[in-house]
């Protein structure tokens, strides 16, 4: 389901001394099935932005359209919106509260008023999708590792069958393998279920590796909105707003500065490897 934001602004503590414009006339279009990364430094407005997408925060001005309908119009069913747009917060494992893994995942769909069979079927499927088999069902969330807990929390959202899945720093605090596992699973889900995934991340390397499109938020505005390759070409501007490019992008840029004839758009290890190997071949020919 496509989403459209039209000049969305959000002002905190309007009218008093702490007034702050967290979002400043943001216009965006999010078509179906895209894998989008949102980056921005702490306090840039990313979290405020994503909380608008499922109606947790209400814009001070502007409009948001979900599937063509204005979510702020009178009589709009916010409950449906929230079940369609699933938001996984930072450290979602802190929100696990049921006695065992299976009941925790059932909680969301149960509240949608579905039958017991349907609820359980959804929970099973969601747990399978995040890579947790039956041996985990009866475990207490407290017995799990950080990565496993986080997967339970994501399964809880998946069981709601969202059309749009928003993840706010899903890999913070996870070890490298746990990070790859979660992101691989999310990428697989995105392809299989053809849902829209919005990934908020502080890891430029992760964003470069997984997403089709990057939205850079700074000072409540959108600074860049393009493919990873294009966005990371602006690494100097990104640095000036507290961000960076992936490490490998700096390698190819530095080689170019040393006079190499090399493609500088690489953002992943694979791409950088190809670019460097190609450039070495060219150099050998000249020598």
């Amino acid at each position: 389901m496509s989403m459209k934001l039209k000049k969305v602004s959000y002002v905190y503590s309007e009218g008093d001394a702490f007034e702050k414009k967290a979002l400043d006339e943001i216009s965006l279009e999010i078509p179906d099935g895209q894998f989008i990364g949102i980056i921005g430094h702490t306090g840039s407005g990313k979290s405020t932005l994503i909380q608008h997408l499922n109606g947790l925060l209400r814009a001070t001005s502007g409009a948001i359209y979900y599937d063509g309908e204005n979510i702020y119009q009178e009589g709009y069913d916010m409950r449906t919106l929230r079940s369609k747009v699933g938001l996984v917060f930072q450290y979602p494992e802190h929100q696990l509260f049921e006695v065992d893994v299976f009941s925790d995942v059932c909680f969301g769909p149960k509240n949608l008023g579905l039958s017991k069979e349907e609820v359980e079927e959804r929970a099973k499927k969601a747990l399978t999708q995040v890579g947790l088999d039956e041996s985990y069902y009866k475990k207490s969330p407290f017995e799990l590792s950080g990565g496993q807990k986080r997967r339970v929390a994501i399964a809880g959202i998946l069981a709601m069958h969202p059309q749009v899945l928003i993840l706010d720093e899903p890999t913070a605090g996870l070890d490298p393998k746990g990070r790859d596992e979660i992101l691989d699973q999310v990428a697989l889900l995105q392809k299989e279920r053809k849902i829209t995934v919005i990934l908020v991340s502080h890891s430029m390397e992760d964003v470069a590796r997984y997403v089709d499109r990057i939205i850079v938020v700074n000072d409540g505005k959108i600074l860049f909105d393009d493919t990873p390759k294009q966005v990371f070409q602006h690494y100097k501007e990104l640095e000036s707003v507290g961000l960076a490019a992936p490490q490998v992008t700096y390698v190819v840029k530095a080689l170019k500065e040393k006079g190499w004839d090399i493609d500088t758009t690489a953002t992943t290890v694979e791409e950088a490897k190809e670019a460097i190997l190609l450039a070495i071949k060219k150099r050998e020919k000249i020598c």
Partner: protein, 281 residues
């Protein structure tokens, strides 16, 4: 004698069933031998649940060893009368800066520790000044902590520990919640403390790029130390690290891949500059 010396150190968590009987015993730290020299910068790597944080909490006497010995600057951490001195010697910084800041003004927050130690007021202010300067946060001393960025807050938390004049500072994933700039700021502050003030630093992290500055890297798995060496020695073993659910910095991986493809490069490359230099030779 090293500032931190552990021999056959172990820590057990017990899991109880509904009747209060011990159901399972988990050895989170299992036979660790460790010798950290004064002034060293040691990085600890390991997957979630490998025992890193349990080890760190024993150094700070938050947890008491089940077995083995642990001496912090010559003090036995199991001896209850040493607890406060151990904590003064080895200060700890945690992952989430918001959980560690209690003051409403930056300088007051930093002064909280020394004040509790009964330091005379005049000296407290001296300590606040030097520690805020050492992490580059002096100009924010009159600010409210909640108006700061994540990296700035974490540096204030570090200053709060530094103001207590610890000989050693243990940082448990201090950058996990920060953006790239915040991560850089914090690591720079830690390195400055280590190099300029000669404070021993023990850094637990999941970001491999932060480890390359360490004198020594320790890899933990299943409560044990499974690898030990310089960053160069550790990151040369890409495949072994992957086995332990870890990784290498992106440039190191790129160099490794290029070597496999036949490019003449050193066995292990740790930084962008090194790689560019090696390629241009």
């Amino acid at each position: 004698m090293g500032i931190i010396e552990a021999a056959k150190l172990a820590f057990e968590y017990k899991k109880y069933d509904e009747n209060g009987e011990v159901e399972e015993t988990i050895r989170a730290v299992d036979g660790v031998d460790l010798d950290v020299k004064k002034g060293d910068f040691v990085a600890v790597l390991g997957h979630n649940g490998s025992g890193k944080s349990t080890l760190a909490k024993q150094i700070n006497a938050i947890l008491t060893p089940t077995d083995g010995t642990l001496y912090v600057d010559g003090m036995d951490v199991r001896d209850e009368k040493n607890i406060w001195d151990v904590r003064k010697t080895a200060g700890m910084v945690f992952q989430n800066p918001d959980n560690q800041i209690i003051g409403t003004v930056v300088e007051e927050d930093v002064g909280f520790g020394p004040e509790n130690m009964g330091i005379p007021t005049e000296e407290i202010w001296e300590r606040v000044e030097e520690s805020l300067k050492s992490v580059g946060m002096w100009e924010y001393r009159k600010n409210s902590p909640n108006k700061l960025s994540g990296g700035q807050k974490q540096r204030v938390a570090i200053a709060g520990v530094v103001a207590m004049h610890p000989k050693c500072i243990v940082l448990d994933e201090p950058t996990a919640m920060l953006d790239p700039n915040g991560r850089k700021e914090v690591i720079r502050a830690v390195r400055a403390l280590n190099q300029v003030e000669k404070v021993t630093a023990i850094l637990i992290t999941h970001y491999m790029e932060e480890v390359i500055y360490a004198d020594k890297v320790i890899v933990m798995d299943d409560g044990k130390i499974v690898m030990q060496g310089t960053p160069f020695e550790i990151f040369a073993q890409v495949d072994t690290l992957k086995k332990y659910r870890l990784d290498v910095p992106q440039v190191t991986l790129l160099a490794h891949e290029l070597r496999k493809a036949g490019v003449d490069l050193p066995e292990c490359v740790l930084s962008t500059e090194e790689l560019v230099k090696a390629l241009c030779q």
